[in-house]
């Protein structure tokens, strides 16, 4: 057993204290033959500190495309020649999407908009949309609307949005290679306001943007410092027309190493499979991740791409004897 896994067994599994950056890096550098042991330990950590439940979430795009920012992975930036056109979802369709999501047994419904930050029109749409969902659907509402002002944070709390997603996307040292229209620190500032407001913080990122393994470890350590309630882990799905459109996808074993390492850095967080897992890991890898530290999934489609059918994930959870977290348990 490699030394780092022995250390993690005592420190993370035993005491619930996450690995630091050097420890995460050691896990990310483990040779293939030790990957199963790392995944098993990450799974044990998840079972001990989070339990067997899996949090299921659906997401929908309220405002798609035409974003003024230049995140190099994103097909919704209006600055690239991506084929994604700008479109708004109306409130009845938003409520219908929440209903479809609730039918899968999901307890979370995240409303997302491709913006730098919300304007008055978007906040008004959110207020109407969240009220309409709460009146008709038994589900918790989360939001992801970019960078916020303090007033907007307060408004979202007032609407009853219980969790806010704002991804740091990658580590601080690599961020300027991925985004030039705003800074990592600006993102951090929004996260700080969200945390202070009492809303749950959801913050993760994308692996495979061209960051080094060291920078992946840096990212895990920075997330651990933020201590988000939830960390969505995406793997780059290279989008046509974006600056990262020709990048290779993350190799399956590296993705699994990252899952184990992020779990060992953050024993208590909700670690969610988000976008890109279908192309990076396929069906088999999805199972390996759920047995290697993941305890939450996005089911159904994503914002501009499609996922595998919700039933495929729900059947897998059933087979793995992992109960879907119930609404009452999240309130």
């Amino acid at each position: 057993m490699p030394e780092i896994l022995d250390q993690a067994r005592t420190q993370v599994l035993g005491d619930g204290v996450g690995l630091d950056q050097a420890g995460v890096l050691a896990v990310l550098n483990l040779p293939d033959e030790h990957l199963p042991a790392a995944l098993q330990l990450a799974h044990d950590v998840r079972m001990r500190w989070c339990g067997p439940e899996v949090e299921v979430e659906g997401i929908v795009s309220l405002k798609t495309g035409g974003c003024p920012e230049d995140c190099h992975f994103c097909s919704q930036s209006g600055l690239f020649t991506s084929p994604v056109r700008s479109v708004w979802l109306d409130i009845p369709s938003l409520v219908e999407a929440a209903k479809q999501t609730a039918k899968t047994g999901a307890t979370e419904f995240c409303i997302v908009a491709a913006v730098r930050g919300p304007d008055d029109r978007l906040m008004k749409q959110m207020r109407e949309g969240v009220a309409a969902i709460k009146a008709e659907v038994d589900i918790q509402v989360a939001a992801s609307l970019g960078m916020l002002s303090q007033e907007q944070v307060d408004d979202l709390v007032d609407m009853g949005v219980h969790r806010y997603n704002h991804n740091l996307e990658t580590c601080k040292s690599y961020f300027p290679n991925v985004v030039t229209t705003h800074s990592w620190e600006e993102r951090w500032e929004t996260l700080r306001m969200v945390r202070d407001s009492g809303m749950e913080v959801c913050c993760g990122g994308i692996l495979g943007l061209g960051e080094t393994v060291e920078q992946r470890a840096e990212f895990a350590a920075q997330l651990a410092e933020l201590a988000p309630h939830e960390v969505p882990l995406n793997f780059l799905n290279p989008r046509p027309g974006t600056p990262l459109g020709d990048r290779p996808v993350v190799e399956g074993k590296d993705a699994l190493r990252a899952i184990a390492a992020f779990r060992l850095a953050m024993p208590r967080t909700i670690l969610r499979y988000a976008g890109g897992r279908e192309i990076t890991l396929g069906d088999l890898g999805t199972r390996d991740g759920l047995l290697g530290g993941i305890n939450a999934v996005i089911v159904g489609n994503y914002l501009t791409t499609l996922g595998r059918p919700a039933t495929a994930d729900l059947d897998l959870l059933d087979e793995l004897k992992m109960p879907v977290k119930a609404l009452s348990a999240t309130l």
């Binding site: 795009s61 084929p83 056109r85 479809q100 994503y302 501009t304 791409t305 499609l306």
Partner: protein, 66 residues
């Protein structure tokens, strides 16, 4: 017959001539993506992805769903 050919004139993923070669990767990608270009006129469509399914609207040829 003419109708069928016209309906598949353009690749709905990359927007290039559908009769040219090289769309195998588009076909694979389309299993996890909605269409982006109208296959009849090549216009970029307004596409809304929903948790279950998607809808795509061509200003000229109307809505398709999947």
């Amino acid at each position: 017959m003419t109708e069928v050919v016209a309906a598949q004139r353009w690749c709905d993923r990359c927007g290039e001539d559908a009769s040219a070669t090289g769309h195998e990767s588009c076909a694979v990608a389309r299993t996890l993506e909605p269409p982006r270009y109208c296959p009849r006129c090549r216009r970029r469509m307004k596409v809304q992805v929903l948790p279950v399914g998607w809808s795509a609207v061509c200003v000229e040829h109307g809505e398709s769903r999947g």
